[in-house]
Amino acid sequence: MPPSGHHHGVASHQCGECCTTLDHLGVALNGQVVLEDVSLHLHCGELTALVGPNGAGKSTLLRALLGEVAFSGAIHFLPVFGHGREDAPVVGYVPQQLDFDRHSPLSVRDLFACGLSSRPIAVWRSRRDQETARAALAAVEAEHLLDRKAGQLSGGELQRVLLALSLTPPPNLLLLDEPVAGVDLGGREMFYRMVSGLRRRLDLSILMVSHDLPGVASVSDRIVFLERRIMAMGSPSQVLVDPLVRRSFGLDTPAILPA
């Protein structure tokens, strides 16, 4: 499938040309410019990978989309056919490795109930929430984790649980913030495979921040190389040969061989 090909020339497609538009976005934190002049279109059914060095503003971009930081410029969410308001899309979010209390008795079922409803999990056990959670977990091959404690899951398992939560209810835009950092290779491949399948099945626009350039290159439709501003953007094959990107990720450095 050619990158971003699915909607070109398909006028009847339900979501229109483009789902989310960033227009000359800029963010300054504590007087320091973190992002400037970022213009980007996120399309439905397309996975855009956001790569760049540490401190390049990748997570800040997601936080701007979540409405957590003030920004200049504009973000437009085009209305999704049939439902949704322009200013209030459903945004799914999978955080970086969670820094929560690993010894907490919070079970996966509890975590889901927390995100889905305000019926207090302290006293209440809703059958409906449970069925929703079970179905959502089944979609990411994690149904068996329902009664495990969230703090005792492996990195990959926890990220799949969070992915399932971010897809309930189905979002218009899915934001993934280094979802596979600290996840072993097997877990990584499984996560990528799922995300890749999702974008087509649910016609989602996905923005995924990652350090793992080779890993994301195989699943994404488009790669954006960010270093305060957009330095390179295009299909994986285009971006992977960009000299700036190759230098930044050390792709041209020959492997150090033992003498």
Binding site: Y93, F100, D101, P105, L106, C114, G115, P120, I121, L175
Partner: protein, 278 residues
């Protein structure tokens, strides 16, 4: 109220003959589940140090009450506790310093200010009851207040339970689920200040935080999910409260401290049970 006294006074125990013990028992039964419910959230969201600081800050509250010539320092306590709680949250956001440093700084400030205010003219000794608590400080009128606060704060905590927990897991995740982390934290801190202040008089400010933390810490050793956690904490808090109250009557010790010792006994038992289960 008179029904309560009537019922309890028929129990075949020495202590049941005393009105102040019957009133205290009622206070313990109202406060314990509330402490337990709040404690599960405080421990989960790693705010034990925060609630400790609020407890210690009440020294300044008492000092301000004296300075202003108030007969009952309740409002000064509540006011200063709220100001300090908001200040800690705000400082943490602005300075991005580690939470423990900011809290330690605020606690140091308020303890120092409180001691300075109360020690003027060498009168500190007369305030030592605020440190260790005084069972007689619970009047029947205060039971009514405690009950109303327990209903309001307890109801609020239940309504906000999921949201508070989610903010503790991850703020951005909470925001993506439509929860405002800042307001959630503020309201929760307000609730902590309220509960700590209401119970300061009889528990004493040195140990009021222990009643919040220990039952939750004990329950989490055994709980497999949040419901078991909250239920376990409530059972342990109520058991420790009643046992500690009665023990303190016979041993003639400070009630707050005795309850805390019983609760720590429960904690050790749950720790042993957890080790045994493995």
């Amino acid at each position: 109220m008179s029904l309560w006294h009537h019922l309890i006074s028929r129990l075949p125990f020495d202590w049941a003959a005393f009105a102040f013990m019957r009133t205290a028992l009622l206070a313990v039964l109202i406060a314990s589940p509330l402490f337990a419910l709040m404690g599960t959230l405080v421990v989960n969201n790693r705010m034990a140090f925060f609630s400790d600081a609020i407890g210690h800050a009440s020294l300044t509250g008492v000092g301000l009450g004296v300075l202003l010539g108030l007969a009952d320092p309740f409002w000064a306590l509540l006011g200063f506790g709220l100001v300090l709680g908001v200040a800690i949250l705000w400082l943490q956001r602005i300075t991005r310093s580690a939470m423990d440093t900011v809290i330690s700084l605020s606690a140091s400030f308020s303890i120092a200010l409180g001691v300075a205010l109360l020690s003027r003219g060498g009168r500190f000794n007369q305030f030592s009851r605020y440190l260790v608590g005084d069972l007689l400080s619970i009047t029947p009128a205060e039971i009514g207040q405690l009950f109303v606060v327990a209903l309001v704060v307890g109801g609020g905590l239940l309504l906000g339970y999921n949201r508070i927990l989610l903010v503790g897991v991850n703020e951005s995740l909470a925001r993506s689920r439509g929860v405002n982390p800042w307001w959630t934290q503020m309201l929760f801190c307000g609730a902590v200040v309220m509960v700590v202040t209401m119970n300061l008089g009889w528990v004493g400010l040195l140990l009021v935080n222990s009643l919040l933390i220990i039952p939750a810490a004990a329950a989490r050793n055994l709980a497999g999910n949040t419901r078991q956690y909250v239920l376990g904490a409530a059972v342990i808090a109520t058991f420790s409260g009643v046992t500690g109250l009665v023990l303190s009557y016979y041993a003639e010790t400070a009630t707050g401290a005795t309850i805390v010792l019983v609760a720590i006994g429960c904690y050790v038992l749950t720790l042993a049970a957890q080790a045994f289960r493995r």
